[in-house]
Symmetry: C2
Subunit: 310 residues, 2 copies
């Protein structure tokens, strides 16, 4: 179960080094990844998804996953999170001592096949196998296992995803042993009312196991949806520095919601993230220098922090 | 008083031909303005702010204001709105038969001086004079007079604008005879909680005279703020096709919230705008052809309407 520190209201989980880099044009050097992660942790970021454990031939730029985790583990107070598609990746990740391991579980059958070549039922069994593996570790070494409900708000292949399917999958993953559930708007299709409704419905099923949402900004509703999630009780939000990674099927549209803009929105309202906005914006220089051919998005970095911001 | 048609939930007031063009790089030809206004009215837009009545030497591209109003008045069902800075402009606007006249009243003293070279108190007196002028017309020819509370959510010069000052100005403008009040986030500084709080406070003061908000997207919170306004009871929202006009002090940041994205957000949630999204997006071609050196913003036009949208 995620432990929320008393001194923040919303945990921002930076997914740029994983979700962002996986969809970037360039491949970032290991030293640059480490510099980025260090700088962002120093700016106050408490959780960073630093890499994925996937076959290097399938995803470019993740061959240094173990080294990046090892670096993250040297940073005090940082929760080092990783993504894995299956048990094989989870075993690799556990060997590194990563604090948190997320498995994507597609609610939509077509997306599940396209993304991980497994059915939804098979992925729930994969979650069960990963949790069994976790339970073989001594308690103090067990990572948090999160099941991320991809396509929870819609699917580029199937369109509308029935909420009943989402809730069934949420419950099945908790029964399979997952410590945490995340609701993921994989392709940015969610709207604010939908986010509120589905978050509350899922919360009613699994209570504290559900804390967060993973939102994309494909159609520009990312921050409105983030606000809706917070109003519905979400205390953890994924986002990416500079909205890094773009969106493969929508050139010019940013991918994940932009961490800098999210921090600005939340802190403007007195919702504490623990993150220093200036320090966070400065991280963009590291990323841009290492990825000269990728576009960094974000309004607050472009327009400058306004004089009303404390 | 604004009359809300039964068949829509939210009135979108397109301000691109005025606010957008006033801040655009290029000057749009009169024929292109007319084609744009016609196309957008045909797409279902019920209210368009078509121009401002200002000295042509101060604002480029508004010398054809009377012709543009005359064109708008030929379009069935369209409310033709205009902006004026003072009584002089209001008299010109009334002579054209425009349906609605908005005066900007800066809550912040410094912005008021910078924008219209008058104090806030002097602008309230200007509203009174305009309303007296309105009352000399036969009832069936009287335009709706709106006072737009600029800098209601913050000022680039003064920073935080006390809410008490906003409420005082709102009440003073209604007492001076304004039919409608709008709350304007002139420089995009508002946050969702602030929008909700201030809208409700102002509504408690003047009830039905307050319907709408005018939001900018300078810091990326435009749609989140729009959603907050709707949740607080707003039934009218200003926006600009393509977020046209940019933001003079923040290159690259869009100005007004983007009409296309706003319609997508509202309609996705079953909030009826009366606007056909496809027809609206098609209007961008007219604008882009007429303003080749201006950037049109907007996520939904870039990414394409997703398959979940009905």
């Amino acid at each position: 179960m995620m432990i929320m520190a008393d001194d923040i209201d919303i945990l921002i989980s930076e997914v740029g080094p994983r979700d962002g880099l996986q969809n970037a044009n360039g491949v970032m050097a290991t030293t640059a990844k480490m510099a980025w992660i260090s700088a962002q942790a120093r700016a106050g970021c408490r959780e960073i998804e630093v890499c994925s454990f996937v076959p290097p031939k399938l995803v470019k730029g993740m061959a240094d996953a173990a080294d990046v985790v090892a670096h993250g583990l040297t940073l005090p107070g940082l929760t080092v999170a990783v993504l894995v598609p299956n048990l094989r990746g989870a075993i690799d990740a556990m060997a590194t001592g990563a604090h948190k391991i997320t498995l994507p579980v597609s609610v939509s059958e077509s997306h599940s096949q396209a993304n991980v070549r497994k059915s939804r039922t098979q992925m729930i069994e994969e979650v069960r196998a990963v949790c069994a593996q976790r339970d073989q570790l001594a308690k103090e070494h067990r990572p948090v296992i999160e099941a991320g409900m991809t396509t929870a708000f819609g699917c580029t292949i199937e369109g509308v995803v029935p909420e009943r399917d989402v809730l069934e999958t949420v419950v099945a993953c908790v029964e399979a042993g997952a410590d945490e559930i995340g609701l993921a708007d994989t392709s940015g299709m969610a709207n604010p009312q939908q986010v509120k409704r589905l978050f509350k419905l899922a919360k009613a099923e699994v209570d504290d196991a559900l804390q967060g949402v993973h939102l994309h900004n494909t159609y520009g509703l990312g921050l409105a949806n983030a606000m809706a999630a917070v109003e519905a009780g979400a205390t953890a939000l994924d986002s990416s520095l500079g909205g890094l990674g773009g969106c493969p099927f929508a050139p010019g549209a940013s991918g994940n919601i932009v961490t800098e803009d999210l921090v600005f929105m939340l802190e403007s309202q007195g919702l504490r993230t623990g993150i220093d906005l200036g320090g966070l914006i400065a991280c963009r220089d590291i990323v841009q220098a290492a990825l000269p051919n990728d576009v960094l998005y974000g309004y607050i970095a472009e327009a400058g922090v306004p004089n009303v911001f404390k």
